[in-house]
Structures are given as C-alpha cells and as structure tokens.
Symmetry: C2
Subunit: 450 residues, 2 copies
C-alpha cells in the first residue's frame, strides 16, 4: 500500500501548490506534544517504526491518482504527485525513550510538498503509540514488578490500535498479550485461558476444567468465577489432583472483590498443598486499582489489563503537533501569544544526573560533558539507517530510562512535570524569528492565540 491517500485533503491541496510553483525548498517539521495530560508526568516515545515503514512505502498508486482526478485535481497536479516519493531525512527519539512536553519526538526534513503530505499519518502514528505506551507505563509503575498481560483487543479503537496496544505495552514491560496477530507480528509471548462461556457450554464447571486441561496440557489456568469463585478454586484443585498437574495449575479471578478473593483463594491453594499455583486477576482494572491491590499486598501474581489501558481511557489522545520550524534555510514559527513553537532543527540533551533536559538547536554542542543527545538520525535520503529495534531492546531502553525519571513525575495522580530548559541559542533564535514574523505580518506584537 503506497499510502498517499492516507492524508487530509488540505495536505494534498498544499502539496499540489508547492509542486506547481516549483517550491521545492527543504522544510523541517517538528513533531512534539505541547502539553501533557493531567495525570501524565512523562511520556514514552513510541510509533517510530510505523512512521518509517510508512515513509519508505509512500507514494500514489494509479487508482489513487484516478480518484484524485475525480475530486477535482487537474492533470498537472496528478502528474506532479505521480512520481512523488519520500526521499528526505528523519531524526527521532528512539522508541521507549522517556520524553516531556515540547520535546520533539520526530523531525522530518524533505522538500516541503512531501514533508507536508506525510503529516497526517506521522501525527496519527506517534500520537497513538505514545499515548498507549505512556498509559501502559502507568500500569508498570503500579504493578511494582508483578506480571502484566495485555487483554485489550476487544475494546481498542480498531485492529491497528489493538496491535499497537500489544506492542506498546510490551515496550514498557508487559510480559505477554492475548492478541494472537500482534504476538505473531512482533514475536511477543501470547497468553490466554478460557471465557465464562466455555464453562457454561459444559454440564458442569468440573467437566469444563477437566476438558480444558486435557486439551491444553500447557495452559492450565482455570477461570474460577463463573458460578462462585471459591467453589471454583476447590474444583480447580480437585481437577488438578485428578490429572496430576498440581505443580502447574493457576487460577484467574475476573470479578468481585479481588483483594478478598485473592487472599481466600491463596489460603485454599496453600492449604491444599499448591503454594506454587499462580493467581491471575483481571476485570476492567485501571492502574489505580492495580496499585491498590499491590499496596494492600493482595496475593495476585499477575494482572490482565484490558480496555482502560487499550484506549488510554483517562487521556485517549495527546496534544501533538507537527510544526514547520524551518523552510528553505529560514527558521519558521507560527505567531502566538500563548504557545509559540520554537523554530529551527532541534536536539534534546539529557544529563546523566538530576538536571532536567535542555532543548537546543541540532548543531549546538552538549550543554556540558556527559550529556547525551536524544534525537538521532534514523532515515536519510528516504532510507532507514538501521533495522527496526527489537522489542527487547526498546524494553531495556525504557527500563533504564524509567530509573532516571524523578519520583515526583512518576506519581500516578497529579504528577509534576519535568521542566525543559531552552538553550540560549534556541531562545535567541526564537526571539529573532518572532520579530521577523511580526514584521512580515505588519504587526508590533502577536495577537492570535494557539
């Protein structure tokens, strides 16, 4: 799929004008999140791999062009679009990196027509993945080392989103997913047991458990709450004994007071001589409920996490923007009283210590010895410079990053944001660019907002 029509009409309008007028100057667009949602103290950058795949395949098929002809684009426009490819460069923060408000996650430099055309998909992909990875990271904080499994597929906003939820939750440390297609695509561990309907389809719970264990000797976690959870635990024990699988049985609780039920179930299992039997909890859990169960030391070994994570229910989008910061060698910015985007190609510098990040220009030096640049060149002349990161590498990156996030930014409720300082060079360029833009607009001070 060359993907050229996966865009907003206005991108095509603009691209056609640029191409017709020979405006082939190089443009840099910077993609960042202006402001974090209320309960996010940091974000986890994600979605780059999808973006690079899209850019590599970008173009228009003949039937795309035919359609554009049918909605009013003339022959010249279509001829100009026909040969368009993405042959630019991309600098980006690697996936799994912690980022803050106003820090560019990705910067694209290409002839302005094509750099503009790809805006819609780049924003869509980075917003989706960063939203989901950042939400899933909250469960990781809440779970304090207990296992987390993605169960979100059935209620995500489409299949793309389901695959993204599985992948992005893996990046931040979820151990498995129920989503078979995602597991295959990304080589993830896949997990799943049975639904209540399975129990109901058999004459009794005991018969259902027995059949399941016989048919799936390696998957012997029994869903015990179809009729009565603690009776279900007893039935699971009886079947495990009968089949000689007491060493590898587990139970899943999907309803009721999970804290109480987990303690009672644990006691019953221990008393029956099954101290190794794992207890799995699920059922619409948000990160606060997970944190509460962990804080109360409920004997839950693993949490199945669905909808709340899969749609990032409390913050289902980010205030992400894709702003022109340089065109044809000239820095650019939209005038605004409130939220000026900084001009120029950027770099983010992160210290090894307690200092916050510094946002500067790409060609500046490090603020001091030992500071690391976060943005790296990942595509040049339309070609990826490296193979996609394996999930495991992104996981390690996130684990290392998370340790360095200040505690106050890791609180689940009302976390504090991390301040990002601007380098003197960036501040000076911002002032100069704003003054130039005012002059061009014939104004003495900015009057628009946003």
């Amino acid at each position: 799929m060359p993907g050229g029509l996966l865009t907003d009409l206005y991108e095509l309008n603009m691209a056609v004008s640029y191409l017709r007028r020979g405006m082939t100057g190089s443009a840099t667009f910077s993609l960042s999140v202006r402001k974090l949602p209320k309960h996010r103290g940091f974000l986890v950058a994600a979605g780059l791999d999808d973006c690079l795949t899209f850019l590599q395949d970008f173009g228009f098929a003949q039937d795309d062009l035919d359609y554009l002809g049918s909605i009013g684009f003339d022959d010249r426009a279509i001829e100009d679009l026909a040969s368009l490819r993405f042959d630019g460069s991309v600098w980006a923060v690697p996936e799994g990196t912690v980022v803050h408000a106003e820090e560019p996650i990705l910067e694209v430099t290409a002839p302005i027509a094509v750099a503009q055309l790809v805006e819609t998909v780049l924003l869509n992909r980075i917003t989706l993945h960063t939203t989901l990875a950042s939400k899933a990271a909250r469960y990781v904080l809440a779970a304090e080392g207990r296992d987390l499994v993605d169960f979100a597929f059935r209620r995500t906003q489409g299949s793309d989103a389901a695959i993204a939820a599985a992948r992005d939750s893996a990046i931040v440390g979820f151990v498995a997913t129920s989503n078979v297609a995602a597991a295959r695509r990304y080589g993830l561990q896949v997990a799943g047991t049975m639904a209540h309907s399975f129990i109901e389809a058999f004459p009794s719970e005991e018969e259902a458990f027995r059949a399941f264990a016989q048919d799936h000797p390696t998957r012997t976690t029994f869903l015990v709450d179809t009729y009565d959870s603690l009776n279900g635990v007893a039935t699971a024990i009886a079947v495990a004994r009968e089949l000689g699988i007491t060493d590898r049985v587990g139970i899943r609780l999907d309803s009721g007071n999970l804290d109480e039920l987990a303690r009672d179930a644990r006691a019953i299992l221990d008393e029956a001589g099954l101290p190794g039997a794992r207890i799995f909890a699920s059922g619409g859990l948000d990160e606060y409920e997970v944190a509460e169960l962990v804080r109360a030391q409920a004997p839950v070994d693993a949490f199945g996490v669905g909808t709340q994570m899969g749609v990032s229910a409390d913050a289902p989008y980010l205030d992400s923007v894709y702003k022109l910061v340089e065109y044809d060698g000239r820095p650019a910015m939209k005038l605004s009283t409130a939220k000026a985007t900084a001009p120029g190609e950027k770099q983010i510098w992160r210290s090894g210590g307690d200092e916050g990040d510094v946002l500067g220009l790409r060609d500046e030096r490090a603020p001091a010895f030992g500071w690391e640049p976060l943005l790296v060149e990942v595509m040049r002349d339309g070609t990826r410079l490296e193979a996609p990161d394996p999930i495991l590498r992104m996981q390690h990156r996130f684990q290392e990053e998370l340790v360095r996030v200040p505690t106050k930014a890791k609180r689940l409720s009302h976390p504090e944001h991390v301040e990002v300082e601007r380098s003197p060079a960036l501040t000076a360029l911002t002032r100069q660019t704003q003054a130039d833009a005012l002059t061009r607009a014939g104004l003495t001070e900015p009057r628009s907002s946003d």
Copy 2:
C-alpha cells in the same frame, strides 16, 4: 485476509477444545452494551458492515496455521481449524439505529467453536463504530443544523479508527470529511483548505492566499489566523476581489475567541459586500463548545471537528459484552448478583409512539399492533442477505430515529436513559435459566458478581 488470528488466544483454546470434543452444537452469542457512559442518553448502532465483511472472509491461511503450530497447538487442533469457516447466521440492528443499554446490537448463531472465535473482532468493531457514531451524534445535536466536517484523522487511534470516524460521523449527518482515503472508500464528500505552514512558506499571507486560489479555483476558503485573524479576513477580501472570486470565498478561524472573531469577521465581510462568504470554525472543539456558539448565535456556518470526536474523548469505549445466551437448544446465562445477561435469542420492539422499547424473545409476537422489530436477519449460512447499506440510507435512518428519541435523552449533559422493559416471556425464561444454573452449580443463590 482471512483474519483467523485477529483474536485472543483464549478464543482459540476454547475453539480447539470444542472441535476436538465434537461439540458442534449451535450457540447464540448476543452483543450488547450493559451500561451507557455518563453523558450518553442513547447510542447509535454502527459497525455491522465491518463485522459481516470479517465473517464472510473468516478463516485461517497456511501461515496462520504454521504460527499456531509454533505456539503449541498440536496437529489435530490445526487440522480442525484449517477448514473452519463462518457459516452461521447474524441478526442485527441496522446501522444508524438508536439503541439503549442491554439491547442486543447483534446476535450470532453458529457452531460454538466459530461463534466463539469471532468474538474479539465483533466486539472490537461494534464497540469502535458505535462509540464514534454516538459521539458524533452529540455534535449533530449541538450544531442544530449547521454543517459539520470530520477533521479527526491526525489524532484518531490508528487508521482504522480514522476511517471509522469519517464513516460514522457521516452516518449521523456530518456533511464531509478531510480524510481522503475514507472519502474514496465510502463515497463521502471531501473537504479541506490549507494549514498555517502554507501561509508561513510564502513571503506573505497575501501571496499565500493568491497562490492557493489560483491553484485551487474551487477551494477558496482561506485560513485567516496565522498572524492576526481580522487582518487575515481583510487580506482574504482583497485577494478575492483581485481574482474576481468574491462570490465563492470563505474563511476559516482556527484559534482565539471564536464567537467574537466570527462576529467581527462577519461584520467585515458584510461591509465589504460579501454576505455570502461562509465562516468556518475549527480548533479542538468539543460538542459543548459547538452548542455554546450555536446558542449564542455566533455567525459560524460550519464546524470542523477533530480529536474530541475522533477518539470520543469523554467516553472512549463502551461497556460492550458478547454473551452466550443459548447453546445446543438450551438457554444460557452467567450467574451474577448484579448484572445478569438475559438468556435466549432476542428481539427488540419499538413503538411508534412515546413508549419505551420492549426487549423480548426472538419468536415472540409484537407487544401490540404497530410495534416494529429492530433486529433483522442480515446473514444466513455465512452469506449476507443484502448488499451493504449506502451511507445515505443510514443517514436517513438516523434522522428518522433521532426525532423519536425523548428530549431528556438528547441532553448533552447528564441525559436520562431510556428504560427498556422486558417481556413477560423473557422475564420467565431468565428466572428459569437462573434457577437451572444455580442447580448445576450446586448453589441456592447467586454469589459471584461481575
């Protein structure tokens, strides 16, 4: 894409057990929303077309089967799955129909293995589309007849979701979308002008407007707020006069106090002799802001609606479930103190008048003369019984439906829900099925909750 791996692992576990054990009895699963989100007084059923397409193509490709072998399914399981197709029947509420909590949107009847396997995608699709159509309907209520255009693509949760947002908002009456791929796929009107970056790429706003109007003589809505909105309006007028297009110019406001700016812009346009120039407003509008602008009689002709609609920001998912209601000729239900799903194959009856709906069994008669059944058979033996509804037909259906929704359920804030009565036959079957299930579980009263 046969789609067999677009599922949760547990569906495959269960299906494999059913197939191995010769449990080929027919099962009916009922898909409904248990409880509406806080600010939803009704839902707009949507997503059926996606479901039927999925069911028609359902199956496993050889590489799907190879993957299943690699994660532990044995040869017999793979052989059983290899030939699986969806050859069942579907009853559903047509898209664009208003539905309430606990009313089945879709019921699937098929051999239990395949009816179970398709759960994940059916839930995903109905939840996504119904969520988005129901959210978009709130904008339609708010706009009171003014035009609405979908601008959501850049921040929806993936491309599936963007295409769904364009389609579902069209079903409830949006007049156009910015999403070119969705417009092509569904034959929707496509809309779009220019971004701020376009203005910034030219030496001046005037030159940008002139170039745009020359290149796109049929798309002459100017984005006026890059530097200063009212200056921008004056520039738009000057360019329109110069090019002789004062009869078809429009402006778009994307920031600032839209009420005030729209009034000022209207006055300037009228004074300049352009009373026909349309004013378009956009910029992160939620339905309350649209309603407020309409209530204040701000002279806005059309609203561009993005993120808030495209992710259904205040309610990004629904409490949707897919419950076994009948298996092998026997009604089924999960025991629950709180939220028992009613057993048996259903029908929803709607009166032409003020009465609420009646939820009954599929083979019952209408409660009284003139009541209409909402669930219709749309697929039999795995084959669609009718071609997909054109968008226009769904639009008409929704318009007719909306008139019949009680005013109290159409309030944007804290709407009242519409009560759905259960027929005596359904109530009796529920009691009987519950008693039978208790007996099978060896209990005297339900103890699990859900």
